[in-house]
Amino acid sequence: MKKTAILTAVLSIVLATFLGAETGEEWLKKVEATMNAPRDRVSTGTMILVDKAGVKKIRKTKMWQKGEDKKLTRFLSPADVKGVTFLSLSENEMYLYMPAFHRIRRIASSAKNENFMGTDFTYEDMTMNKMSEKFNAKIVKEDADTVTLELTPKPDADVSYSKEIMVIDKKTLLPRKIDFYNKAGELEKTMTVLETKKVGKYWTITHMVMENHLTKHKTEIITEDIKFDVGLPDKLFTRRMLKKRHIKY
């Protein structure tokens, strides 16, 4: 096992030497390519919200995703949010269906900096698969297993962070950790990946935690029952599905 790791590291250095070292931008695009590789995905998730006193709140969700943008998330529990369904088509087009109000509500895009349903993830954090559009990336550290990137916002990018430090796992091409610095330059949040798995031909994050250092609140997300490339139709990502009690996919 140890020999394999050493061999991989040596090969990586040799390849980088012969093929030319990859830039931060290229590493970031690789991460995005890994995250966006499946045509679609279906999964169930458990969100564990823990406040600074240690009090836990647990939310269970089912999520359908197609391509980079289309996401449908339905809350399965607890009872007071059960049936609440969130549809995201782009940063500027998000809808929320709350069964108690019998109405689909369009969410103003100014909500993107807000926490999603009480978690430590903002709507913006949930679009990590499109970071190269908003951030410049440069390598600040590299070793045999990881590459560390410093991400700074592009001049016209509308983002909430002044800087992000992303540690990329060279094997899975997924983030291992991201530190989010707010506009005041403080370390606001850290996302740590606790587990990744290869499901079929795709690497994916199955367990991660986002910790807010300012509020001492954290959110753990465990993803299960992941299925890729199931052939989700476009019609799944419409307002029609928000109200449907039963989604067969």
Binding site: K82, N92, F101, S110
Partner: protein, 523 residues
Amino acid sequence: MKRVLYGIILLLFTASLSAETEVGGSLKVDLRSLIKEPYCNFYNREDILTLKISSDVSDNVSIYASIQGRYFDRSNLVTFEDLKNRNSVDPFSVDLWESYISISSFIFDNMDAVIGKQIVEWGTADMLNPTSNLNPHDLSDPLDFSKRLPITMFNFTYYPPWNQFNAVQFIWIPAHKPALMPPGEMPMMKMDVPTPPDLEAMNNLNIANNPMASKMEISSSLNQYVHHNPFYPKYSEGGIRLSLNFFQTDFHLSYFNGYGEFPLPAKAEIRIANESEINSIIQNALKDVAPGDNLGTMLALATIEKIPVDIESNITLVYPHYHVVGADFKADISGVGVWGEAGYFIPYELDITYIYPDFQWMMNNELNYIVQNREFGVRYKSAKYPVLDKPFLKYTIGAEYIFKGGYHFEAQFAHGFFFEQGSQNLNNYLMLELDKSFMEGKFKLTLSGGGSVEGGTFAYFLKNFKLPEDLSTGAFGGPRLDYYPYDGITVTLGAIFLGGSGNSFFAKMKKMEQIFLQLESSF
């Protein structure tokens, strides 16, 4: 009826044993206290248990039902007999709330059907939706305008296969259902309806010097009858709504043909109810006076001390029939959510017919009539005025934005409140709301407020450079704190303040100023 509903509850729980069936619900404890003396009391304490059941019968078919049990923690005692009545001593109610069948891909692959007792909300504005005329309001809590009564509907939505973000929805409602009115006073029922000028002038008539009228002791009674027969097919309602999405903006066009949820007067019949009693008083006074003895008759009439006159007013109310053409949109402009909604109400002509005593004739001729005919004389007049004859437009525009730090701000301007009907009755309302969650979302504080001003005030000001002297204005506001200590429970503490001048709705609701404490737990 209640036994049947208990049976349904039992059936629901039995059904819940099936794997595809889910049972849930909530329990809400609601405690209210009025603020102002002499009303400073817990005017309402109520527990509401809602049971919900949903079952997937197959991939394409599901059923949903909810039952609401309400326990009112206040006895309603008037007579001793009430003490023997469970519903007076310990009132409660059990209602089948929603119950419907949902069918996906019904007839066509892209058509969904929902059939049964349900709530369908149209419009994109926040609560003040001039295009949402399908479900009537449930005003059992007069300060909650968001609650609607579920009604039986046949609801079909077709999604074109080439763009599933567009849709066309067809609704058929077999029978119109009116709004559930609040207990006690109903300020929303007070509309400006034309009145015959001579009838209105009676209020200012000087009767002190009139020999007959000055003896009259007038008492009045008012009976209101609602003309509503939902069994007639003409009380069916229908609507169609087209949903479109382009340039990342949602548009809707709608048409509704149906009835208003609040009745308007169509007939006002004012009668003197005790004519025979008045005649017997007159004839008793004239029993010793020979016919034709005019002087003797007048002297005898002068001995009458008082003549009781019971004036009975019978008002017949009907539900106005409308075509409502609606349009609404919601868009995002640089992070600001903006919306607009308008309903153009085209009424079927509605008139009010007055039948009323000709009081002016009585003032001038009653004495002579009695002298000549030895009986009380009443002549009735009739008059007809339009109540609804012109179309009118209600609209709402609004915007929301979430500022840095999570401060959510919303502002709405509405021309025409949900109960206002007829162009002369539409007022202008401004509503503002600011909310902010804090302590990791454990608390949410909402500050809301707003005001109203009579319709036409702005135009009057532009014309005269001053405000109308009898201007009616109103205002409301209050804080609300929601606390979410654990999953599935919300504790809410809040207050509502109301006030205003003249005839404004908020001024009339002044005595409903209250503080409230609510606990709601879901399971």
